[in-house]
Symmetry: D2
Amino acid sequence: MAKKVGFVTMGETEAKRGKIPEIGVGMLGYAFMGKAHSNACKKMPYIFWPPPAIPKLITIAGRAEARVAEAAQRYGYKSYSTDWHSMMDDARIELFDNAGPNNMHEEPCVAAAQAGKHILCEKPLARNAAEAKKMLEAVKKAGVKHMCGFNYRFAPAVRLAKELIDKGAIGQLYHFRAQYLQEWIVDPEFPLIWRLDEKVAGSGALGDFSHIIDLARFLVGEPKSVSALTKTFIKERPLPDKPDKRGKVTVDDAFEAIVEYENGAVGTLEGSRFCPGRKNYEYFEVNGAKGSIFWNLEKLDELDVYFDEERYMETKGFHKISATESYHPFYDKWWPQGHLLGWENTFVNQLHHFIDAIVNDKEVAPYGATFEDGYRAAVICDAILKSASLGKRMEIKY
Amino acid sequence: MAKKVGFVTMGETEAKRGKIPEIGVGMLGYAFMGKAHSNACKKMPYIFWPPPAIPKLITIAGRAEARVAEAAQRYGYKSYSTDWHSMMDDARIELFDNAGPNNMHEEPCVAAAQAGKHILCEKPLARNAAEAKKMLEAVKKAGVKHMCGFNYRFAPAVRLAKELIDKGAIGQLYHFRAQYLQEWIVDPEFPLIWRLDEKVAGSGALGDFSHIIDLARFLVGEPKSVSALTKTFIKERPLPDKPDKRGKVTVDDAFEAIVEYENGAVGTLEGSRFCPGRKNYEYFEVNGAKGSIFWNLEKLDELDVYFDEERYMETKGFHKISATESYHPFYDKWWPQGHLLGWENTFVNQLHHFIDAIVNDKEVAPYGATFEDGYRAAVICDAILKSASLGKRMEIKY
Amino acid sequence: MAKKVGFVTMGETEAKRGKIPEIGVGMLGYAFMGKAHSNACKKMPYIFWPPPAIPKLITIAGRAEARVAEAAQRYGYKSYSTDWHSMMDDARIELFDNAGPNNMHEEPCVAAAQAGKHILCEKPLARNAAEAKKMLEAVKKAGVKHMCGFNYRFAPAVRLAKELIDKGAIGQLYHFRAQYLQEWIVDPEFPLIWRLDEKVAGSGALGDFSHIIDLARFLVGEPKSVSALTKTFIKERPLPDKPDKRGKVTVDDAFEAIVEYENGAVGTLEGSRFCPGRKNYEYFEVNGAKGSIFWNLEKLDELDVYFDEERYMETKGFHKISATESYHPFYDKWWPQGHLLGWENTFVNQLHHFIDAIVNDKEVAPYGATFEDGYRAAVICDAILKSASLGKRMEIKY
Amino acid sequence: MAKKVGFVTMGETEAKRGKIPEIGVGMLGYAFMGKAHSNACKKMPYIFWPPPAIPKLITIAGRAEARVAEAAQRYGYKSYSTDWHSMMDDARIELFDNAGPNNMHEEPCVAAAQAGKHILCEKPLARNAAEAKKMLEAVKKAGVKHMCGFNYRFAPAVRLAKELIDKGAIGQLYHFRAQYLQEWIVDPEFPLIWRLDEKVAGSGALGDFSHIIDLARFLVGEPKSVSALTKTFIKERPLPDKPDKRGKVTVDDAFEAIVEYENGAVGTLEGSRFCPGRKNYEYFEVNGAKGSIFWNLEKLDELDVYFDEERYMETKGFHKISATESYHPFYDKWWPQGHLLGWENTFVNQLHHFIDAIVNDKEVAPYGATFEDGYRAAVICDAILKSASLGKRMEIKY
């Protein structure tokens, strides 16, 4: 209610807020991904203003009480829990946001689906296709909205690439080559954390970097076959809790795959955690009959696009696009041109997309990744592992 | 209070929160800068966890009631006001955050100082040195903490540059050249907004891009003299509210300055809003006796550093540093390596610095810019205008 | 003989020239490669001064008389011939330089070996391993010096990479990924030239871009296995001489290969002529336990090198090396720092290496590629084609 | 005369050569520039085939007999001389190519003009405008062709920039900023070579880097005024021949200039030899009403061009042009796309332009720089020195 005092108008804010709906969120995980997802919940409503609904942070769950309690306070969750099951009966929670490790995806997501909650689950959707299939079936049966956190679909420059390809700007596609390269386990003394344990992670670089598998499907289409190789360079590593003992690394340090697509395009996918200097190098390049596009996560807001036809023949060249204009995807919600988005904001864009789909009953696909997309990525991962093991080209069958 | 239910521990979050102090914030401005500053207030406490204090958003002020009321709701301010004076008496407001246009800096800041509030004021501190001096005197007299929003000091890569220079990594400094280039008014039909009106803005590209003047002082030291030229390419533009009428552009579209520093370094400063393709190109390069450093806002998290001495002579070359490691400035608070910060987060880092200074009674300088820094930048701006007008080299005198 | 006239000393040049030996050259081919090789013959002696021998251009051979006669005049050959056989009996020709198309490699080179001539043959050495083997056996039997024109070994930056790897600067090797991408046949109306005809060329992108196969062996070592795919996107094209008729493209437009090396490194090799915007993009990246290196032909004189250890931890980053200093390979013969070499000069460096080996009886290996290297590249090409055809990983056996 | 032997046609080359005229060259200087100019003489006729005339290397002159004699042999001059005067009477010499140091420009060029020889003189044309004026007057009076070696006009990418600007592709010009940065004298122990001696060199970085002054005039037009600063960081250096004694550096180590152009454009020019890591960094950027262009000598064959209008609004961005296509300036004479030219080849293009002008009586201007251009650059250099000395803006008057 505004009151006038002389020329001043002062007002209380609370009154109006009721008009915008809220959506109760239960979060699983408080570490790297829990932080990224919680940040998205907090930023989305004032960036995408007015939002389809304001996330209400109900509960955050995790195993270590002291840490999960601190996370609850830090991000503003009303309560915390050391057991995710406690969130399933909580009617306040409408959106289950799974930011836990890979072995904590299947069971909680299936339970959440059965409890009728909409689900956003981090990638990879599961440790393997069999798990992913159960999750997909559960959400389909429950009729809830579902999303797999392939967040790079929500980088403005990547969405721009998608839109350009879809409108035929580079013509029929011939090649897709993508690399996801990091360096963080090149030291043989780096410990045997959960990401290096097949039981928890499912696979190593492969599943973790399945972003490029998803981007391949997002931008090019369905793969027809894969030929692959995987490699574990360091076979044993110190145990995290007993550094003088060593345990076996049971996942791939790197994978190399050749992919042929249904539409005739061919290319490679590579992932490795053994590339010194490559901090978070996610690169893709698409070549088509009329042009090419490339992108690199380390230059998040840039897109390079080449057109074979130009106004002046002699000025053909890759356009280095700063995808930060109000007419670029998502950017009208953010800042003026040239004021770069950070990595975290892909999650904000993603969460808006999902909550909009929930509140306004829209499709998550094709711009958002669903559990169907998560499942298909898992099938391709399985095929890569099998091809690597057999030394044979494998057909992709969903 | 945590309760155990079987193996589950659930707890309420609220209990603990009381331990972290709060600091009441009053914001002036709800547009571009108001959004950036409000975002900083909301993110700082969970990124810099535990924070020195949690900003409590009390009031946001602006002239247009409908817009300021909406902003209050959007960002979560308890109340709004159409007159900033109303915030001065409000004891809940301990930190006055001035994100208003340049002609709204002096009077509100002086009033806030007199009211004993700590002040964060956007750059340029004032329309000219005379105004800035009054503001500086007011905060000194009041004994409040003060900061001028030269936020690029808080980009991790820029802070890294500062630390490298300070520890002598590139030796005695010879050159500093910086450019701030944008393109957004190159269209002659772009309207005569407040930023093109000397009465409101004080100057044009010069004050707006005084970031590079501040970075010059931050990284190199005090200027001794300037020789300059300014230019207004488009002399008249459509009035914003009466597009069929034209008014006079009363500020510079571009400035060019040669600077000599007290320590003997020399170089140039250039700013322009007439550079098509330059979205937000803020570049600096420092050359010293033992190496060089360059940085570009369009690649916010990168720093390029050259050392004349290397382990192998044949591998001398600019190191392209992704300043995103936990051992780089600020980054331990953020994300793992290679997960880029966005532009907005310079404000988060800046706000933490200021609130930490307030709560723990630390100095804002030398890493943060104070009103003293804001005043000195204004003196240099005035000297640039005078040199441009007289065609003579001007000594800098504070 | 110098004569003094007052203070002036004037002299005739000819007298001294006798001290430097000459080497008679017979060239096969006058087109793109004939030009590049002839240019190398003409420049080498004054760039590498004093040269081991001065190439004396005796004869250039090619089928079309008018064109070969003009080429002879253009480059300064004493005579021309429409049949390469005529050069075999010519005792003045000591070095046979084969810059002809791929189907003109085996027979002339074997004949030249039998005639006791030293041989420089353009890559790929032959259309397939069987042909290459005959050539290798011929030069071995004849005891002549032999070189295969993998000229990129002679780019200063590539040689620098080799030297860094060899001295362990980046430690044990984990990855090698290389791409050779061009765009020039993406137009379906581009005619069916000899490079698209298996009978003449042997293979398409594969053999033409076997540079990256050679660089893999040069920098990393011997491959153990390959898994591959090849693709012909445009199956029929206009005949060069009858544009209204179409003929079948009988070679690969693109190849994709996964390679595992004897030393445990893994990676990919890709080549394609269907990448719009990629003019001559030859890229490789090597990742090792202690660092990484990458290079790109489109920035010929640059090398990017990352070291995991640095003087300051916070300045780790890829060093962008301008490999143009006098202490870099070859550069002391050329220009001052930063004055870039062009593509053509890799041939000059290569020719000097070969003539030095001939005149001073040095080994061509390991820095130069011999027919042994040419043969091994051909074996790998054959294995790639077989793997692509069978859909199976193939072991490499020389 | 060709003779047929069976199916073979063999022929002697010499017969035809007579059809192409020759032009006798006398060279002054055998060091860095002498090498670059001699190389151009040798390459031009077979690259630009058929050439307007084939340079016939008559005499090379220099002071040190042993070195000049060796240079004669190396490059194939018929004779050498220790005194350039000896070339003036030699009727065989039609083109006098002055690649000597700056203090050897005026007198020999004036003499050559008086002797009726066409003259190509290295930049800077002279040590100052007074000298340059005499040279200009001499060539005008003699009616000979004259060229000043501003060779970067002959980089394909720079010519492309010129052509784009001339056809209005980026509209009215607003800014030109250029830098020429090197590092080679940053070591205080670097000796006092001739380039640091005003008596020989005239000026330091200023004259040496007057390339950017010429490019400013070439691309933008005539300057109206300059405001400048010069700096000598290291005042004394070891004498080259007596390293334990020091002499005074009498030229600028660096210059900084603000330029206003007749057409209203403004910008900066900077040159320095104190920029570690900058090997040969010559950069310019032009901003116009409809677009921008930038170029960097360290990426010789690239040009970056931005157009404010594009087919798709969302793909606006700097086009990174590889100016290596047959439709780009000069490139049809060289190699296929993406096969980079080196630095040296700008001299080849330049020499062809000059000899074509001589033989076919064409104008050297506007694409080539004449002595008029060399004189005007000298006037601007003088104005920069005067402005730096007086601390005042200086008008340019030719």
